[in-house]
């Protein structure tokens, strides 16, 4: 049983999906119950991963290995380290909450809707646990399909445009990435005579720098579009805005992390020379910094509530990629923590838009104002999410942002100095949004008498709020879980670094305690 734990986590949603297919489409409540039970089960079976995880061990845990297509050297290898563990947990938790939050929101094609979500769960978990590159690629592309339908069928007015844009844009990136994967595969075969997609084996493929760079850029196409990094981000606001609430939540909380995860799991360890190459690092950091400031400024001027939140993701993900390419312990650790944090905070922000959209069916900021009088509890939850997203200490966002900033600053003073302006603009667009929607008098007649949060909405928000506070007050477990895997990656990249990027300030020795 326990040696297949990871496979169970991976296939629980899929198994639930198979059963779901046999429930007649007219039994809407039964479908809802079943989907929720499956999603909850998906979360519960992932819990033993946390308890069974040994953070003092190097390398992967819960590893399973089977041949899949022996002729091509494709295997079914799955396993997790601290980085994947956090993202898998994020997926199972957010997946459950997203499915739970859809109860009232979705009323047509209910069966298909939940089927898509469950399929997507398996796809996303697969991405985070695959240790075979082709297996990874299969899951990577698998995720596209359900999200395409979720946006395209249950989305807003411009859903078809958004869905096709999302699909084609990310597919294009994926295909370019595949070229890189194949290059790596054939390079490895040319040198060792072994055809394999296993990550561990591909790590030992000495390549010329130009080949590594080429592969890096092809990976970049796949990952940067997914993250999304500036200037490949414009599919995101459309997809987010048009998707149904739960779709936006999953998109922001989990799907985007596939891109950052790709950089951390594949680009850095597999291509350490290219990843520490001065040109590449500078380009990636520059794009991240532009993303942070640009995303925040564009966010400030949005008239559409949901689009504003979508652009804020561009800014926050800029912090994540900045942390990665700071190429040091704090930067990378902060980046992974911030990925979890962004899932929580932005997930909440999208849920908040969803709550009001269900009541009023408009996303225009100017249609609101003074909601704090009508829906005081809603206003409190929104304030909480806003503060968590703006990185207020003792909430989750601060830990990630602060650690990333420290890493960036340590790598290069100027990177830190530019990135830190993000916290000013970040506060600005959120506070202004809050003021325009929640504060002031109720000016719009239609907003009078709106019901406050119901128990189901509370049930979605409360766990997220508790999670946010727990990270903010006691982040030690996260740092502990990430310490080994991050150190390994940082060490590997820096040992291949051709020239030191910066000079350290001489620092006097101090007794650490």
């Amino acid at each position: 049983m326990s040696e297949h734990l990871l496979s169970i986590v991976l296939f629980t949603p899929l198994a639930g999906l198979l059963v779901l297919l046999f429930i007649p489409g007219t039994q809407k409540n039964l479908i809802r119950w079943w989907a929720n039970i499956t999603a909850a089960a998906g979360f519960l079976v992932s819990l033993p991963l946390v308890f069974g995880f040994d953070k003092s061990r190097d390398g992967y845990q819960f590893v399973e290995k089977l041949d899949w297509i022996p002729a091509l050297g494709v295997q079914y290898i799955i396993g997790i380290d601290g980085i994947s563990l956090l993202l898998v947990m994020l997926t199972t938790i957010m997946g459950f909450l997203a499915i739970f939050s859809s109860w009232d929101a979705i009323d047509h094609r209910v069966k298909e809707y939940y089927a898509m979500f469950l399929l997507q769960q398996t796809g996303m978990i697969g991405v985070f646990i695959s240790l075979d590159f082709l297996l990874f690629y299969v899951f990577w592309e698998l995720v596209l399909v359900p999200m395409y339908f979720i946006i395209g069928v249950w989305g807003g007015p411009r859903k078809l445009y958004a869905a096709i844009k999302f699909f084609l844009y990310t597919l294009a990136g994926g295909v370019l990435m595949l070229l890189g994967i194949l290059t790596l595969y054939f390079q490895h075969a040319a040198q060792t005579g072994v055809y394999t997609f296993e990550i561990a084996a591909l790590m030992n493929t000495p390549m010329q720098l130009w080949v590594e760079r080429l592969v890096f850029w092809s990976f970049f196409a796949g990952f940067a579009i997914k993250v999304p990094m500036f200037p490949f981000h414009t599919w995101l606001p459309d997809a987010h805005t048009e998707a149904p609430t739960a779709g936006s939540v999953i998109l922001a909380a989990v799907l985007l992390k596939m891109g950052t995860y790709g950089f951390i799991r594949f680009s850095l360890p597999l291509l350490p020379q290219a990843s520490s190459d001065a040109v590449i690092v500078n380009v990636l950091v520059a794009l991240s910094l532009i993303g942070i400031i640009y995303g925040a400024l564009v966010s400030l001027m949005q008239r559409d509530w949901k689009r504003l939140v979508a652009y804020s993701s561009v800014s926050h993900l800029g912090f994540c990629t900045l942390g990665i390419f700071a190429l040091n312990q704090s930067g990378l650790t902060g980046s992974v923590i911030q990925q979890v944090n962004h899932g929580i905070s932005t997930g909440m922000l999208f849920l908040i838009v969803g709550v009001i959209y269900e009541r009023r069916h408009t996303r225009e900021i100017k249609d609101y104002g003074g909601l704090a009088h009508v829906m005081p509890n809603y206003a409190i939850v929104f304030a909480f999410a806003m503060l968590s997203s703006a990185g207020l200490p003792l909430l989750n966002g601060f830990i990630g942002e602060f650690t990333i900033l420290q890493g960036a600053f340590q790598a290069n003073y100027l990177w830190g100095a530019f990135a830190v302006t993000g916290i000013i603009f970040g506060a600005a667009y959120l506070l202004w949004l809050y003021q325009r929607t929640m504060l002031g008098e109720v000016t719009n007649e239609k907003n009078k008498g709106l019901p406050d949060l119901n128990w189901r909405e509370w049930a979605v928000f409360v766990p997220l709020m508790i999670w946010a506070v727990s990270i903010g007050v006691y982040p030690k477990p996260y740092f502990d879980i990430l310490e080994k895997p991050v150190a390994q990656i940082v060490e590997r990249v820096n040992s291949h670094r051709t020239a030191p990027v910066l000079a350290e300030i001489p620092r006097p020795e101090i007794d650490p305690r």
């Binding site: 564009v298 400030l300 830190g416 600005a428």
Partner: protein
């Protein structure tokens, strides 16, 4: 009982209060709230008192309690440090905080609306503020200090926007939060530099490294230490409302008056001064930055005072006064007199809290009116408020014997005598002192003396505040008189009681690397300067009396151009609004959003368009060229076959005809050819 190990409980007591208020407050009665909320702060005060008394008995007056790890790699724990500096701060925060809580029970008791106008919400935020403020001053490392730092900022935002139905309140809250964030950004970078320099964010580690002699004072230029110090100071200018980031504080007066007293006068805004004092080991190594601090402090002091001279809103006068007094504190810190900065912080907490609460009592009596032009003659209507305001105004003006005199005079003296200070800075301080006396007494005369200028309805309803409000005022008035007696100049005798505060704080500000400045000035000079400053203060008071009591309205000097500039606060708000709000943020945001739509997304849509275009061309090509070629071939064959079609008709008769004709032609050719 060992209070020293319980110092972590000092901030957590008000946190418990806040938790009760915010979670269950809606179900509590007003009385229960009025007991629990101030009670939690009172308990914190008593605990602080016990801890400080035990601290005094220690050999080395420094005690740390670490509850657990927080951000380990920065050596930032849930750790608390009680030393002479933090002990002064916790006593001020809890004592003044408690009095203001009690006052607020009366002041906020008249709020109408659901849940008594958010009575529980108000006290929840107020207790939360005290928690964060105590965390700020008790933290044993920069990161936890920053928790308090941001937390008090949050509470400030929440309380400024307490009347959130008013747009101006929301605006003021946003302004405060965002302007503070600008300072915070610099503060964060400064913290990272401290970490890189000393390897730890813990104050004791930092001090050990900085005092240890590895770093020599940066006398020859602007080095890394100076940059670090400057970044931290920029952080302080945000929280403590110094130029150029002072603009949020006057607007913060949108909050209820007890908030103005507690947060925007007595405690939170002094956090920057505290932080600079806390990092004094760093600042003493950077004379350049120290000079900048002194200059910024002096400039802010006189600049804000100049605006305060002409404001008509009673709370705005006090707000600019606060900015100005904070400038004095930074002037002291800048010239290296850290203990004097803390001294003034402490006396200011009493008299400024008193003045704000007193003004609240006036506003309360006037039914919400804040414009002094519609007050006047309130002296006998609200006698207690009048008397305490009178005392507070004497104290801030620097009348000998009262609290403000000792601390302000010490600042002026240190500015004169310190090697970093100068005669010019002293002069700025002196002029500011005169202006302070003038605007404060202008306030007193406009409010309490002269003819009543309010309408009849308001006049009929003027009443003294209830005891729950006046008792705290009386206690604060006593403090405004006596608080300075622990910092009496050596001029009047040297003993442990007179210089108690200086001795108490001395170990915190003793830094090995830099010997304390030795003053070469005689007591005679000090006495002379003191006489001048007293004369200047009296001059300010009498000038105000002359203008606002003796002269009739029309006799007063007409408002010239300068008056208009001052009344409009030097147009700084307009300038900032133009440059940073509408220019950088909204303008930049609009440009970026358009850029995003047209170019970045335009590029994507352009690619899609290009793909469709290529696809259309392909379709055309496929239809007309590729398929056309096939069809053309077919056509060509058909065309070629066209003539043949006429021959191959399938009729035997026509074949026979052609056959016969052919035979005849062949035969004819043969014969004729011959």
């Amino acid at each position: 009982m060992n209070f020293l190990d319980l110092i972590w409980l000092i901030p957590f007591l008000p946190l418990i209060g806040a938790g009760i208020m915010l979670l269950f407050g809606r179900r509590l009665s007003k009385t229960a709230i009025g007991i629990i909320s101030p009670g939690s702060v009172l308990l914190a005060f008593l605990l602080s008192l016990g801890a400080v008394i035990q601290l005094a008995g220690l050999e080395k007056r420094e005690h740390q309690v670490v509850l657990g790890p927080w951000i380990e790699f920065l050596h930032a724990d849930w750790g608390y440090l009680l030393d002479p500096l933090s002990s002064v701060m916790i006593l001020v925060v809890t004592f003044v905080g408690f009095l203001i809580h009690v006052y607020a029970v009366g002041y906020m008791g008249h709020e109408h609306g659901p849940n008594h106008g958010g009575f529980y919400r108000f006290f929840g935020y107020l207790n939360l503020f005290v928690f964060f403020m105590l965390t700020l001053v008790l933290a044993n490392n920069f990161a936890l200090l920053f928790v308090g730092w941001e937390g008090v900022g949050l509470c400030s935002y929440l309380l400024i926007g307490f009347y959130f139905h008013k747009k101006s309140a929301g605006d003021a809250g946003n302004k405060a939060f965002i302007v503070n964030r600008i300072g915070d950004a610099a503060f964060i970078l400064g913290m990272f530099l401290v970490f890189q320099l000393t390897g730890s964010l813990r104050f004791t580690d930092m001090n050990a490294a900085l005092d240890g002699g590895q770093f020599s004072p940066e006398v020859a230029g602007f080095g890394i230490l100076s940059v670090t110090a400057l970044l931290l100071f920029i952080g302080a200018t945000g929280k403590s409302a110094q130029a150029p980031l002072y603009v949020w504080l006057p607007d913060a007066m949108e909050g209820p008056t007890p908030v103005s007293a507690l947060i925007h006068a007595a405690t939170m805004v002094t956090a920057g001064v505290y932080m600079v004092a806390r990092a004094s080991a760093l600042f003493v190594l950077t004379p350049d930055t120290s000079m900048i601090i002194a200059a910024v402090g002096a400039f802010t002091a006189i600049f804000a005072a100049s605006i305060g001279l002409v404001q008509n809103d009673i709370k705005r006068v006090l707000a600019y006064s606060t900015v100005s007094q904070l400038g004095f504190m930074f002037l002291a810190a800048g010239v290296g007199a850290y203990w004097v900065a803390i001294f003034h912080l402490y006396t200011h907490a009493f008299f400024k809290a008193l003045l704000f609460l007193g003004s609240g009592s006036v506003i309360h009596a006037m039914g919400g009116e804040q414009d002094m032009r519609r007050m006047g003659g309130l002296k006998d209507k609200i006698p207690i408020t009048f008397r305490v305001m009178f005392v507070g105004s004497l104290a801030i003006a620097g009348i000998p014997g009262l609290a403000g005199f000792f601390s302000k005079d010490e600042i002026l003296w240190q500015t004169w005598s310190s090697p970093i200070g100068s005669k010019a800075l002293f002069l700025v301080g002196l002029i500011t002192a005169a202006m302070t006396a003038f605007y404060m007494w202008r306030l007193v005369f406009m409010t309490f003396y002269g003819e009543p200028r309010m309408d009849e309805h308001t006049k009929a309803h003027i009443h003294e505040s209830p005891p729950v409000m006046t008792y705290p005022l009386i206690v604060l008035a006593a403090g405004s008189v006596a608080a300075g007696w622990i910092g009496i100049p050596r001029l009047f005798g040297e003993n442990n009681l007179f210089q108690a505060l200086e001795h108490w704080l001395a170990p915190v500000f003793a830094h090995g690397a830099v010997p304390a400045a030795v003053h070469h000035h005689s007591h005679a000079v000090e006495a002379l300067l003191m006489a001048i400053s007293v004369a200047v203060a009296l001059g300010g008071i009498f000038f105000a009396r002359h203008v606002y009591l003796r002269l009739k309205e029309e006799q007063r000097p007409a408002g010239g151009a300068l008056y208009k500039v001052l009344l409009n606060k030097w147009y700084v708000d307009e300038l900032y609004s133009f440059l940073f709000v509408n220019g950088l943020s909204k303008g930049g945001g609009t440009v970026m959003a358009e850029f995003d739509r047209r170019f970045v997304d335009g590029g994507v849509n352009g690619t899609a368009w290009l793909t469709r275009m290529v696809s259309n061309i392909s379709i055309w090509y496929d239809t007309w060229i590729v398929d056309g070629l096939v069809n053309l071939t077919a056509f060509f064959v058909r065309a070629l076959s066209f003539p043949v079609r006429f021959l191959q008709t399938g009729w035997v008769q026509s074949y026979a005809l052609v056959f016969v004709a052919g035979v005849l032609l062949a035969a004819g050719y043969y014969w004729l050819g011959r």
